[in-house]
């Protein structure tokens, strides 16, 4: 009966979670595809992610002088690095799938809003 259900509801805790003030009760599963992290130390600059991205948002940026200096043995051939523009990313996770060195990962960190467009460029 609806009326019983309603009166029960009156004394139940509301289901609303007042995000972002509280996050208890929210579901952040492992597989959630959100903020990217790129480990530039192990990225070899192979461009595979940029080629596979359905939204064309990964740009391969040439390394600066300093960065060229700082290359380790593992990535000594690297000349470009991926930079992802999250404002147009569709969070499909294809880039993660194709990356041969596992240096590009999607985390389940969903808090992305920002007033600064620069902050939404991952990889710099």
């Amino acid at each position: 009966m609806l009326i019983i259900e309603l009166i029960k509801n009156l004394f139940r805790r509301p289901e609303t979670v007042k995000y972002p003030y509280e996050t208890e009760g929210l579901n952040f599963p492992e597989r959630l595809r959100a903020l990217h992290i790129i480990d530039q130390e192990s990225c070899i600059g192979c461009r595979k992610c940029a080629r596979a991205c359905p939204a064309y948002v990964i740009e391969m940026v040439p390394l600066t002088e300093d960065e060229l200096e700082a290359r380790t043995e593992k990535i000594k051939k690297k000349k470009v690095k991926p930079v992802i523009d999250l404002t147009a990313c569709i969070f499909c996770g294809v880039c993660e799938d194709v990356c041969p060195t596992d240096c590009l990962n999607l985390t389940n960190h969903i808090v992305l809003p920002s007033g600064d467009k620069e902050e939404l460029e991952v990889g710099d």
């Binding site: 009326i3 509801n9 509301p14 289901e15 609303t16």
Partner: protein, 335 residues
């Protein structure tokens, strides 16, 4: 003499006058929304003030500070002026209600006449408001509002007849006093406890229709006519319309409390003077919020009816029932 005038001014403007009534209106708005939300497992208003209690004020101020747009097709004078004076009749009506004592701020031998008149005037104002905005949605909303008035006028007035017959008077103080005392030593002699419960149910249904709350929110039906007669109003005018709706809630529910639940009556414990007034007010508010909660639960459990169904239901069930009921009461001599 001077102190009398000062007291009157204080009463009419501060307490229990306009300011207090407006606070009560916003409080009821908050209460309605909070309970409505909790019934749906939501939180409801919770940001403005403690537990969102200031939500009514916040809405009013925010809306009032917005730009006011007057459509070209609207009747320029009525559209601008009427919303501002729309809350006035209801405030006057609330002055009749005995909240703090056995006598309202205004009292006359014909209180009920005035109250019925004001209830009708309010709907008439809604119709004119809708008509003057010159939009088709508003026009449909206004015509629906008028149809509801025609349908629920008779059950509403007939349900109010029961307390009148019992008290033998049109004065609210007499009606309240007629409910004083107890039956069998414990049961208060309120009108709702006894045969009057039928009248009370009729009154609740008509009150929902008068307040345009679900399932009778047809004149404002958001998903059908996008807000009905309120559609074109914005800015300050809309703020006053919101206020008017909240005040209407206070007014209609207070009438129910006074007519059926013994108004401010309750055990007095031998207190007198200001203490008694306060006690009366506490009793009144308790009953008031009880009726508000009942109305909220009813309105949250039902879907909106079509205007045809409302008119049909009213004329084929409510009106005959109310007429038969009143005839019965008259024959039995006001039980």
């Amino acid at each position: 003499m001077i102190s009398d005038i000062a007291l009157f001014l204080f009463q009419s403007i501060v307490f229990p006058g306009v300011f207090f009534i407006v606070t009560l209106a916003f409080g009821s708005n908050w209460m309605y929304r909070k309970i409505y939300a909790r019934l749906q497992r939501r939180v409801g208003p919770d940001s403005a003030g403690k537990y969102g209690f200031m939500q009514g004020f916040a809405d009013f101020l925010k809306t009032a500070s917005k730009e006011e747009i007057v459509p070209r097709s609207a009747n320029q004078v009525i559209f601008r002026v009427l919303p501002i004076i729309a809350p006035v009749p209801i405030i006057v009506g609330i002055f009749f209600i005995p909240m703090m004592g056995l006598r309202g701020m205004i009292s006359s031998p014909g209180d009920i006449y005035a109250i019925v008149f004001i209830l009708t005037i309010v709907t008439a104002i809604e119709i004119v408001l809708g008509w003057s905005s010159g939009s088709k949605y508003s026009l449909i909303g206004a015509s629906r509002s008028g149809m509801q008035l025609v349908s629920f006028g008779i059950p509403l007035i007939f349900s109010m007849l029961y307390p009148i017959i019992r008290a033998g008077s049109f004065n609210l103080m007499d009606i309240v006093l007629a409910q004083d005392g107890t039956n069998f030593g414990f049961l208060p002699r309120w009108n709702v406890l006894g045969l009057g419960v039928i009248a009370f149910v009729l009154f609740l249904i008509s009150a929902l229709a008068e307040l345009e709350k679900p399932p009778f929110d047809t004149p404002e039906a958001e998903t059908e006519i996008a807000g009905g007669w309120t559609l074109e109003y914005s800015g300050r005018s809309y703020a006053y319309i919101l206020l008017m709706e909240d005040l209407k809630m206070v007014f209609v529910i207070s009438i129910g409390v006074v007519l059926f639940l013994g108004g401010p009556l309750g055990p007095t414990f031998g207190i007198s003077g200001w203490g008694l007034a306060l006690l009366y007010f506490v009793y009144f508010s308790l009953k008031y919020f009880m009726v508000l909660i009942i109305l909220t639960i009813i309105s949250s459990g039902l879907a909106r009816l079509k205007i045809r169904q409302i008119v049909f239901g009213s004329w084929s069930f409510l009106t005959p029932i109310s007429i038969v009921f009143i005839i019965l009461v008259m024959v039995l001599g006001g039980v």
